[in-house]
């Protein structure tokens, strides 16, 4: 009953968040259907046209349709983010479970995580992406490297909290192995912080991917990416502001959707908030 009430209060955030997420995922999934125009084909005679019926968001300096470049950019952005979330969750989960369950390994793992924390994540991501070279796989790996420590810390803290509860002892008394206890007893009980964290990583990943592409170390042109669109558009800021505003708004909508959901889910799943 109380949970229901809380859900009602938090509902607008999750609802608005879900709508934004669904819109961006829909655009990402159906980009080829939504737009008939090629995101990469150039029509120099149509360059820098303002928004019109034919080109809803105008055209860029090579006469390419901005709307379709944004749609495909969102598709790329979501692809990168999904993979980053999967990789960080799997690695963070394993590292965090081990560190939380075996205090001896924790000594080492926690120091390494501390050290990684003293570099801002975005700086690790930029450095690695620049050094490994741009391209989808490289930026996915560098972002995962930058963000897995965050997930590992959350998992570690939750594991330590759950480990001391009696049912773990009873499992051990019944002869369960460490692996069985970790995945059958502990994992199901720490799922909610992991889900919340994964949603937050998703939102960050959208923004970091855009930042990397903006700096020219992300998705390789002419392949469209939201950050890359902003970076190209800034040269034409006085004459064609839509080249900056449209992709910027697309980034905000996508990231805001996941942030709203993360916030809502955290409040919904956090038992401390049940008054």
């Amino acid at each position: 009953m109380k949970r229901r009430k809380l859900y009602k209060i938090r509902c607008p955030y999750i609802l608005v968040g879900s709508v934004l997420v669904i819109i961006s995922v829909f655009i990402g999934l159906f980009a080829p259907v939504l737009t008939q125009q090629s995101p990469t084909k150039m029509f120099p005679q149509n360059r820098l046209q303002p928004p019109s019926q034919e080109h809803l968001l105008g055209t860029d300096e090579f006469g390419r349709d901005v709307a379709s470049r944004i749609f495909y950019g969102m598709r790329n952005s979501l692809q990168v983010s999904v993979l980053v979330v999967i990789i960080t969750t799997v690695i963070g989960l394993l590292v965090g479970l081990i560190a939380g369950f075996y205090p001896k390994t924790d000594m080492v793992i926690s120091r390494v995580l501390d050290a990684m924390m003293s570099f801002p994540e975005i700086i690790i991501a930029i450095s690695l992406a620049a050094l490994w070279g741009s391209g989808m796989i490289n930026i996915i790996l560098s972002m995962s490297f930058a963000y897995f420590s965050r997930m590992a810390r959350v998992v570690r803290a939750s594991t330590i909290a759950v480990k001391e509860v009696e049912f773990i002892d009873s499992g051990r008394a019944a002869g369960a192995s460490d692996g069985y206890i970790l995945f059958k007893y502990i994992l199901p009980n720490i799922l909610s912080p992991i889900i919340v964290q994964a949603t937050m990583v998703f939102a960050s990943a959208i923004i970091v991917e855009a930042t990397l592409s903006f700096l020219g170390v992300g998705i390789k042109p002419p392949e469209p990416s939201l950050g890359g669109l902003l970076s190209d558009g800034r040269n034409f800021l006085p004459v064609a502001p839509w080249l900056v505003i449209a992709p910027g708004v697309a980034i905000v909508i996508t990231a805001l959707g996941f942030n709203l959901q993360g916030d809502g889910l955290r409040d919904l799943l956090d038992p401390r908030l049940e008054e």
């Binding site: 050290a115 003293s118 570099f119 690695l128 930042t211 980034i251």
Partner: protein, 314 residues
């Protein structure tokens, strides 16, 4: 207390060592060959070998790491391949704009963020709260470079009241430096105010439920006094953590804002060096970022222990 401070300083040492290892590892695994980049495509095999020897790239990795880290301990971060000067000097030369940017940015963050969070907590679950939450969430969601470009568009291109980019040192233009800093300040500050507002709101909500707040109200204090003297003062500890954390990040370099506004700070130096694979500067910048972060956080932690008698320093 002294024991606590010493212990905290000693605890930094292992973190620093691992940090150096990570930095070295990150810059070592990159594929770009710095020797070829320095000499260009037409270098002869001999020239390449000679420079490799001179810069020490011909030695095994562990020898390079030992040499490099023993130099760091002595405060020597090596020489830049491109700037023809020591890395430490290059970073110090560019510290002024970054320092101003970080300080101004965090000030705007505090001035906007704390009232926003307090108001949201006082008017909990009303439209004021909703608006505040939305605004602060937008603050942390809008990418820094997008906000920066919007500001440039509005104030630089449409209204033409502020320069769109660039920077002149204080020694040349005195207070005129503010003209170059306003837009970057706002773009950094609004982002920081988002996280500060969120933390202020949740800390205030926690505190407002405490018994001593009820007591303070019961003894007839005005709501203003209760909020300012009793609630905010106690809610400030977690907020100060966020502020310290943000300040540490910003002092390490406002990489994106410096790049968009073409401000020659430490962040722009780092990004430029990454693009041209200037290994010593990249490594130096990363060490600089992490060191600033550790020192600022240490200072924040120690000042807590000093300010808040409830924290036991062990």
């Amino acid at each position: 207390m002294l024991y606590y401070v010493i212990r905290r300083i000693l605890l930094i040492i292992p973190v620093l060592c691992i940090m150096a290892l990570i930095t070295f590892f990150i810059t070592f695994v990159m594929p770009g060959d710095p020797i070829r980049l320095i000499l260009g495509d037409f270098a002869t095999e001999e020239q390449i070998q000679e420079l490799e020897q001179k810069l020490g790239y011909d030695k095994p990795i562990y020898v390079q790491f030992v040499n490099w880290s023993s130099n760091i301990v002595r405060g020597d971060l090596g020489d830049s391949h491109f700037l023809r000067m020591p890395v430490t000097k290059a970073i110090i030369e560019r510290a002024e704009p970054t320092f101003f940017l970080a300080l101004g940015g965090i000030l705007i963050g505090i001035v906007v963020g704390i009232p926003l969070g307090v108001v949201a907590a006082i008017r909990h679950r009303t439209w004021v709260d909703q608006v505040s939450i939305t605004v602060s969430l937008l603050g942390i969601t809008i990418p820094n470079f997008f906000l920066a470009l919007l500001l440039i568009l509005i104030f630089g291109v449409w209204l033409r009241v502020l320069p769109v980019a660039g920077y002149k040192p204080v020694s040349e233009v005195g207070f005129g430096v503010i003209r170059y800093l306003i837009l970057p300040w706002v773009s950094i500050g609004l982002m920081q105010s988002g996280s500060i507002a969120r933390m202020t709101r949740s800390a205030m909500l926690d505190v407002l439920q405490q018994d001593y707040i009820r007591t303070a109200r019961a003894k007839g204090l005005t709501e203003k006094t209760v909020i300012a003297r009793h609630a905010l003062k106690n809610a400030f500890i977690p907020v100060a953590t966020v502020i310290g954390f943000s300040l540490a990040m910003l002092l390490g370099g406002t990489w994106i804002a410096e790049t968009v506004f073409a401000i020659p700070g430490t962040g722009q130096l780092a990004i430029m060096s990454i693009m041209r694979r200037d290994f010593p500067v990249i490594q130096g910048s990363m060490i600089f970022v992490a060191l600033v972060y550790l020192i600022v956080n240490l200072a924040v932690d120690i000042s807590y222990a000093y300010l808040n008698p409830r924290i036991k320093y062990r």
